[in-house]
């Protein structure tokens, strides 16, 4: 069975509001970059299928895949939508190529949250319409705050740890030209950030940006043709814990743990803490980074916070996480890049 590689990557946007381009135009720009990166491939000739990762309500368009094909070179070709984040799409592309039917698959994802006027209402619509939505949560971040409290109480994590995550991510972002929110925070800055829902402060919550990302994946044979430096996909995993919020584990992201186990099994990784060189984890909330480091087996449960304080220089740490500053200083396009859920 063929191996699968990433052979090209492109992006556009990554600023709080892209005013001069529609989401379709951002997709086009990102796709152009990705195809150039993939050895100048011609999507009209060289690509077997395209996946667009989106959700109707993020787009404000029902059946949002209608608008997927043209900007990425997919008109009258095989295109479909995965309702999920781009990592889930990469998982689908991986399966498609592994099946033997497809050689080159393009994954596109974008978010234009600046187009949304009623973001809170939209996010609330993701809650169970019968058991949760009628509660009329005044602030949707309350759900994350409940998780944060459960996690912090169970594992003895304090605000100083969250402050450290925030500070580290903003600092790492200074080296990333796409990080809109990068900056150097002083020790007291975190405390000055207003509380949104206790224990989460504004600084704990990733801010949105508008962005589009396109990734090109290929079978082994195609990858060798397209690129001298393919990056092999050794394993993928995605898991759903449960739809019923009340019944999920509030203190520990079991879904991430299970997804990681799937990916490690395929990649034949027995001890991720030793074998994984660096990691980009979803840190849309500060505490999520700590949770995810543990769920991914990069640190024992409940120990990520202390590890962080002990090894403040993440670049020098044995296993730097979010070394390129994943979600946070770069912001949180509602779709692009996230961990498997």
């Amino acid at each position: 069975m063929t191996k699968v590689a990433i052979v090209g990557l492109g992006w556009s946007g990554f600023s709080p509001e892209v005013v001069d381009m529609s989401f379709r135009e951002m997709m086009f720009k990102a796709a152009q970059r990705a195809y150039e990166d993939a050895g100048g491939l011609d999507p009209r000739r060289d690509v077997d299928a395209f996946i667009s990762c989106q959700e109707d309500f993020w787009e404000g368009i029902s059946i949002a895949d209608e608008f997927a094909p043209d900007p990425i070179g997919g008109a009258m070709k095989s295109v479909y939508t995965v309702a999920g984040d781009s990592l889930q799409c990469v998982g689908q592309a991986y399966a498609m190529i592994k099946s033997g039917l497809f050689d080159v698959v393009v994954v596109e994802s974008h978010g234009k949250p600046s187009d949304m006027l009623t973001l809170h209402d939209v996010m609330s619509m993701a809650l169970d319409p019968i058991s949760l939505r009628p509660l009329g949560l005044a602030n949707i971040h309350a759900l994350a705050a409940l998780e944060a409290r459960a996690y912090m109480a169970k594992y003895g994590v304090g605000p100083q740890h969250l402050a450290e995550v925030v500070e580290k991510a903003h600092r790492a972002g200074l080296r990333n030209p796409r990080a809109s929110y990068a900056g150097r925070l002083n020790a007291g800055d975190y405390e000055l950030s207003p509380v949104v829902v206790d224990p989460l402060r504004e600084a704990d919550i990733a801010k949105f940006v508008d962005a589009a990302v396109v990734v090109v994946l290929a079978s082994e044979a195609a990858a060798r043709d397209l690129s001298d430096t393919p990056v092999w996909v050794e394993g993928v995993g995605w898991r759903t814990e449960t739809s019923t919020l009340e019944l999920h584990d509030w203190a520990f992201p079991l879904h991430a743990r299970m997804a990681a186990e799937d990916a490690y099994r395929q990649a034949k990784i027995a001890d991720p803490a030793k074998e994984v060189g660096f990691a980009e984890v979803d840190n849309r909330y500060s505490f999520k980074e700590l949770q995810h480091i543990e769920a991914l087996g990069l640190a024992p449960r409940g120990s990520a916070a202390e590890m962080l304080l002990e090894e403040p220089s993440t670049q020098a740490a044995a296993c730097p996480s979010t070394s390129a500053a994943a979600r946070w200083p770069r912001g949180s396009p509602s779709k692009s890049t996230a961990s498997p859920d």
Binding site: I61, V82, G100, T242, S243
Partner: protein, 394 residues
């Protein structure tokens, strides 16, 4: 695209299930998904613990009124603690869902997969589901005209009638056939054993040339399949039905720039599926077909796109009775969307289930007269741009 049709893992359908299709069902979307999934599992003699991964299909989130509907449906669809993904291509989603299921199994990532499609249009889509469809239009150049969903389909139907010289009487025959066929389907919403062409032509005019009985109804419902790799399939059943070909195509978004008389996107999708299935003469090699029929003209349109009829020939085949259940090329023996109902994604998957049951000889009252070995289901969606095709065989 690889031309290697010897895949390492052949994929079979080993069980199917569905709910009633009705204008309003009491059950929540999750409960509907569960009812269908449970029946599919029972038919395969499996329990949820046997399932490695779940593929969910559901079209616009606005129908169920739930943002991130895939996450919401996961529990009902058996996705608890499992790899779950939701895919969609608008109305073409129902046939696309088992296509995505195919690569979950063919890749070796999963050995047994549960494929579930659900739609509930009765509770959130107010004042009428057609109104919720306003979000499918281009928000900048089309939505300001305050369109009704049926406009575009009426435009396609009328262009087809104009280009092929088809009369409404001929198109109405499809509605009559399918609503009569539906009387053999235990889930059917609109069985009418006595319906005539006259009834269709006298029904309420919505958007000329579309009248009420030219259109499938608004429905709640769910459907499910169990897929398995070859070794598992042989363990589960003596009569697996193999997925022989898959195909999907999405035409340009800009539907006002192209001719609507012929569904090129369906032709491309079918070609992809036929190439994989080794079919070079579909009219001879496909024994029974379930083309997508949310409107009666669409069955004709799609037969032509699928190569089951020449351009403009489908109305003639229909008039001659070729497409009846006892005809030479039975088309929509289930009753289709016009007869069984149209909970969007679930309706497409119902068609795949129908081919599965037909090929196993389990369609009972609906079983087509001729012996059948190879069948096809097809769906269509988006702004008249998506075509999805699956070929099954024994």
């Amino acid at each position: 695209m690889s031309r290697n049709i010897n895949f390492k893992h052949r994929v079979a359908v080993v069980g199917a299930g569905m709910t009633l299709f009705r204008r309003r069902l009491l059950e929540t979307p999750q409960e509907l998904a569960w009812l269908a999934a449970k029946q599919a599992l029972e038919e395969a003699g499996l329990a949820l613990k046997d399932i490695d991964c779940v593929v969910i299909g559901s079209a616009p989130d606005a129908f169920d009124g739930v943002h991130m509907k895939g996450e919401y449906l996961a529990d009902g669809a058996g996705g608890w603690h499992k790899p779950v993904v939701r895919v969609y291509v608008g109305g073409a989603t129902g046939v696309f869902t088992p296509i995505a299921g195919w690569w979950h199994v063919a890749s070796g990532l999963c050995r047994k997969a549960l494929v579930v499609a659900e739609e509930k249009m009765s509770h959130a889509a107010k004042p009428h589901p057609q109104y919720v469809f306003r979000y499918i239009w281009d928000p900048i150049v089309e939505k300001p005209l305050n369109p009704n969903l049926i406009w575009i389909f009426a435009m396609e139907m009328h262009r087809y009638m104009y280009k092929c010289g088809v009369k409404k009487e001929d198109i109405a025959l499809v509605s009559v056939k399918n609503k009569r066929n539906a009387c053999g389907h235990p889930s059917a919403q609109l069985c009418d054993p006595n319906i005539t062409v006259d009834d269709v032509l006298k029904s309420e005019v919505l958007v000329w040339p579309v009248q009420r009985l030219d259109v499938s109804p608004v429905s709640d419902g769910a459907a499910a399949l169990v897929l398995a790799d070859e070794a598992e399939a042989r363990r589960i059943t003596d009569t697996p039905v193999w997925i022989k070909g898959i195909g999907f195509t999405l035409d340009t978004t800009h539907w006002t720039n192209r001719d609507l008389a012929y569904p090129e996107y369906v032709r491309r999708a079918a070609e992809m599926a036929y190439r994989m299935a080794g079919i070079d003469n579909p009219r001879k090699q496909i024994d029974v077909a379930e083309p997508y029929d949310p409107f009666d003209y669409k069955e004709l349109h799609h037969m032509e796109g699928l190569g089951l009829a020449k351009k403009c020939e489908a109305p003639i085949l229909t008039r001659e009775g070729v497409t009846q259940r006892d005809g030479d090329l039975p088309i929509n023996p289930s009753g289709g969307l016009l007869g069984v109902g149209n909970p969007i994604a679930a309706a497409g998957l119902m068609k795949v289930a129908e081919i599965f049951w037909q090929l196993r000889g389990e369609a009972g009252a609906r079983q087509v007269k001729k012996p059948v070995y190879t069948g096809l289901a097809q769906a269509w969606g988006d702004l008249m741009q998506a075509g999805t095709v699956i070929v099954l065989g024994i």
